[in-house]
């Protein structure tokens, strides 16, 4: 079964606006990761946040993690048309899980020039 649920399923914004995507999960995690997928391509890792972290930044990306609510958000600031893609959260459980990831259903982001 899918661990993560993402919200919204689709998001359409204008270039320069901020985009926020949310991810909820059900069980305790070791870390949560965000990936990006351009149409018909493989996934690209964006950012990882560990269970003992609350916020992380990477360029125009900001990720937050609230383990009490079992949720995370990805903020893309000053969006560009090139940010148009699907974004997935993925959770990892650590221990002897061999790095297995459980992916959400994704958010389709469209940035209009």
């Amino acid at each position: 079964s899918q661990q993560g649920e993402e919200d919204p399923q689709a998001l359409s914004i204008q270039e320069g606006e901020n985009a926020t995507m949310n991810c909820s999960y059900k069980t305790s995690i070791n870390n949560l990761q965000w990936y990006r997928q351009n149409s018909g391509r493989g996934l690209v890792h964006l950012i990882l946040i560990r269970s003992n972290e609350r916020e992380k930044h990477s360029g125009r990306l900001r990720v937050t993690l609230d383990t009490s609510k079992k949720s995370s958000s990805l903020l893309i600031t000053a969006s560009r048309a090139a940010d148009t893609a699907s974004y997935f959260c993925a959770t990892a459980f650590g221990g002897t899980s061999y790095g297995k990831l459980t992916f959400g259903q994704g958010t389709i982001l469209t940035v209009h020039p």
Binding site: Y35, G42, L43, G99, K100, L101
Partner: protein, 112 residues
Amino acid sequence: SQTIHQWPATLVQPVGSPLSLECTVEGTSNPNLYWYRQAAGRGLQLLFYSVGIGQISSEVPQNLSASRPQDRQFILSSKKLLLSDSGFYLCAWMAGGADTQYFGPGTRLTVL
């Protein structure tokens, strides 16, 4: 640097035919390897993973099998394809003990 290859990029196969998809990784040793399937507009479903040569773990009972004949080679197979096997198949690798997976470009499989 490390690279991951998948082939073929696109495949159209009739129902009942066999399948072999290949994934190879360069520039690293003893990686963890993963096969995922992505249905249209959906998230990724983990099918198989391997932590070493000859070691395969299956996540979902299905019509597919996986093998790892060499350290950096991961093969997804089927003896007889079903319509429901259609999808986008992605291979990924991760260094042992690390957290981040790196994905290949994927294979689009259509079963008719």
